[in-house]
Symmetry: C2
Subunit: 255 residues, 2 copies
């Protein structure tokens, strides 16, 4: 596969580009596709369908939120196990050889050139595409707030997780605080700030790379994936979270 | 001119890509070219040669430093008056209608679409090209320190400037401090921190966009342009500043 075709194949997917809403949704772990030249990295079919390969439900929820919020959406074309787009190319876990309890055979013993090829084929086009959307909005004077959408497994390393909706912030915590306050006031969800991860775990790369340089308000949403496993559940969750995000934006505007 | 040809014409210029040194030099104001479709923006020939259009001497000094430091260099293909690559597309002074004492006729009354076209033709390709260099270095495990090289006019709004060498930092001041300390110890230059500008003036955009998200040490250099006006002066300045930068890197490595 030539570099040219790789770059065309793995660009960021953009939906609702001309939406009028201020929120720009990003779903870095949207896909469990394992395209050539990498293929399934030695994983079983069961593994390629499980949370280790992607964030199940996150793209469906992102699309339901995009509709309700009149929001643009940028999402990934391939599994995070080939390249985790929410990690810089200097990070070992951008191409993890082990994730939770899973060995990733195709990620063992990668050479510097293997890492470079994946970074140039997947990471660079995705973030260039997302950057292009932000640049376009800023040049046109459109209000822009960056919200990344993730899901997490209800059981991790054998431990059940009680939190249902986590909101994670990086350096600028304003939006995350406003979302948590709105979720606690408006929903029955078990909501927590910086759960099940926090910026200290290195999970806020997209926020740092794309939002912080422009001073854009930003936050990362984490939804427990057993709550968005069916189309009906996705609609229920979107109907709860869309008003929460709108309320949080209104709170920011007042502040 | 099609968007395709525009994007090809105005990519970042990269020299010494495979250099082994840790410093990645960036010169956003390297050029006083006024290419089509914008042309000279109604400026006189004298204005297009003056500091208002570019940073005279900055590219020559960058190249002399690149040779002495075995450093890669990324520089701009067009005048900052068409698009100032060290400003985000939300900033009015990315396409300034007035700069110091100069009106810029071709930048008056720009529409949102005009601003978008310039941002997509100039800003996005430049920063994508610079980002690609950083991504490549990080994926390959190469140490990387970002240093931007600028020049400033000895007289601004009629006031002479005494400072000869300014070092400007953004959030991470470590490298800037180390450079100032080395310059004061090793040269007779009138050196100052955060002169003649500082981050508060919005001049550290490239550092914020490209270095901070990856935690790369970074600094912006400002050299008074009457000190780098001839090839001989450029060599003298490079012979002073290259050891200063090497000493600063060594200080950082010790710390």
């Amino acid at each position: 596969m030539s570099l040219q075709s790789t770059q065309t194949d793995f660009v960021a997917r953009v939906e609702n580009r001309d939406a009028a809403g201020a929120i720009l949704l990003v779903c870095e772990h949207a896909s469990n596709a394992f395209p050539a030249p990498w293929g399934c990295l030695g994983l079983t079919d069961t593994q390629t369908r499980a949370h280790v390969a992607w964030d199940p439900g996150a793209l469906d929820l992102s699309r339901a939120l995009a509709t309700r919020l009149d929001a643009a959406l940028v999402h990934a074309p391939a599994s995070r196990l080939i390249y985790d787009l929410n990690r810089g190319p200097d990070r070992a876990d951008a191409m993890a050889a082990r994730s939770e309890v899973h060995d990733i055979p195709g990620n063992k013993g990668l050479t510097a050139q293997d890492r470079l090829h994946r970074a140039e084929a997947l990471y660079l086009p995705f973030h260039t595409g997302l950057h292009a959307e932000i640049v376009r909005r800023l040049a046109l004077g459109q209000a822009t707030v960056l919200v990344t959408v993730h899901s997490f497994t209800p059981v991790y390393h054998g431990q059940p997780r009680a939190v249902e909706f986590g909101v994670i912030h990086d350096a600028d915590a304003r939006l995350a605080w406003a979302i948590v306050a709105a979720a606690q006031a408006m929903t029955g969800l078990a909501c927590a700030l910086n759960e099940p991860y926090s910026a200290a775990d290195g999970v806020t790369h997209t926020l740092r790379l794309q939002a912080t340089p422009y001073g854009l308000a930003n936050a990362m949403l984490e939804i427990r994936n057993d709550l968005i496993a069916t189309p009906q559940q996705v609609e229920v969750m979107a109907s709860q979270l869309a008003p929460v995000l709108q309320k949080a934006l209104a709170t920011m505007a007042e502040g």
